[in-house]
């Protein structure tokens, strides 16, 4: 579905638009914290209280301290995951095709690119390049096989990440959490962003009427 305020390639930097995006991301971040750390720490807190009160000993021999350690360890993993998503993921001043190639190599992701490294739209100072790099760096976090492609056809730049034998449940849950942040960035640069069961795709500029009107990108 195309965002209602998609701007067909026109970057929208109006103050109201940017404030709205910030507010949406703030709400999104609250939801992420609620669904991850808040839940797991709440469970650990309950368990700690049970241990203090001496409950559980008759019901589960192994209940306790080991469970608490596992629970806190799980919370730490979630915290690290959130920190990883929130890091700036800088492109380090290099063109996007090179940055993506290096990212793909470091994460074991297959990468295909048919855009020259000198393409002006994909230099490190470009908002579009930074949005695509954010999408790539957050979407490839974890284990499994992914295919990443950046291409240019008929004036349309498209980027997609496709899951192969990836743990799709885990991947989709993460993408679901990230989607508002990714949608928000796509809107700011006038691109469209879609998620299906095994693929995420960004198209720039956003198509005028529907995704079917976009020229084939591969």
């Amino acid at each position: 579905m195309i965002p209602s305020h998609s701007t067909n390639g026109q970057e929208d930097f109006s103050p109201l638009r940017l404030i709205s995006e910030l507010e949406e991301q703030q709400e999104w971040f609250a939801q992420v914290l609620h669904r991850t750390l808040c839940q797991s720490l709440s469970g650990a807190n309950l368990l700690l209280q049970l241990l203090e009160r001496g409950n559980g000993a008759s019901t589960a021999d192994a209940l306790p301290w080991q469970d608490l350690r596992q629970s806190l360890s799980g919370s730490m993993q979630e915290l690290h995951g959130i920190m990883d998503w929130l890091r700036a993921h800088p492109m380090a001043g290099i063109p996007l095709p090179i940055a993506l190639r290096e990212l793909a190599a470091s994460r074991g992701v297959a990468f295909f690119c048919d855009i020259p490294e000198a393409c002006p739209a994909l230099q490190p100072g470009s908002a579009l390049a930074r949005v695509i790099y954010f999408l790539a760096s957050t979407g490839t976090w974890g284990k499994g096989r992914l295919q990443m492609q950046l291409s240019h056809r008929n004036g349309v730049i498209s980027f997609f990440l496709k899951s192969e034998d990836f743990d799709k449940t885990d991947w989709l849950q993460r993408i679901e959490l990230l989607e508002p942040a990714l949608q928000s960035r796509a809107r700011i640069v006038g691109a469209s962003f879609t998620v299906t069961s095994d693929e995420i795709r960004l198209i720039y500029p956003a198509p005028r009427t529907s995704l079917e009107d976009v020229p084939c990108s591969h």
């Binding site: 839940q39 709440s42 008759s58």
Partner: protein
């Protein structure tokens, strides 16, 4: 009604060991089905569920409200608490909550009904 497995497990353990009979569901659909098939004196519900909210649960079963309804949530603004009251919850506990708060809610309900609640 709680979709976080550890929280549900430990709360169930605590309530069982303090003499209550406890059923656990993890979705709004499961909660509505449970409440339509059995009279529960106490409902403890997380607000954020995969298929709806705890507020939806009480609205869907408003014709047969429990003696005691406790909302548990990571969201605790005045607006969240107001919505819980409007939906029919007697207490809104902010995660991570203390078991003392659960005990307090049961004592309050028992004082008001002059009956043991949820045993």
């Amino acid at each position: 009604m709680e979709n976080h497995a550890d929280t549900a497990k430990y709360l169930q353990l605590y309530l069982s060991e303090t003499g209550h009979q406890v059923d656990v569901v993890s979705t709004l659909t499961g909660g509505i089905a449970a409440l339509s098939g059995k009279n529960y004196e106490v409902v403890i519900s997380d607000l954020g569920l995969p298929d709806g909210t705890g507020w939806d649960l009480l609205k869907a079963t408003a014709h047969q409200p429990p003696l005691l309804a406790i909302a548990i949530s990571g969201y605790g603004t005045s607006n969240d608490r107001k919505r819980s009251r409007q939906a029919g919850f007697h207490f809104h506990l902010l995660k991570p909550f203390n078991l003392d708060e659960i005990d307090h809610a049961f004592r309050e309900a028992e004082a008001q009904t002059a009956l043991p609640v949820g045993t």
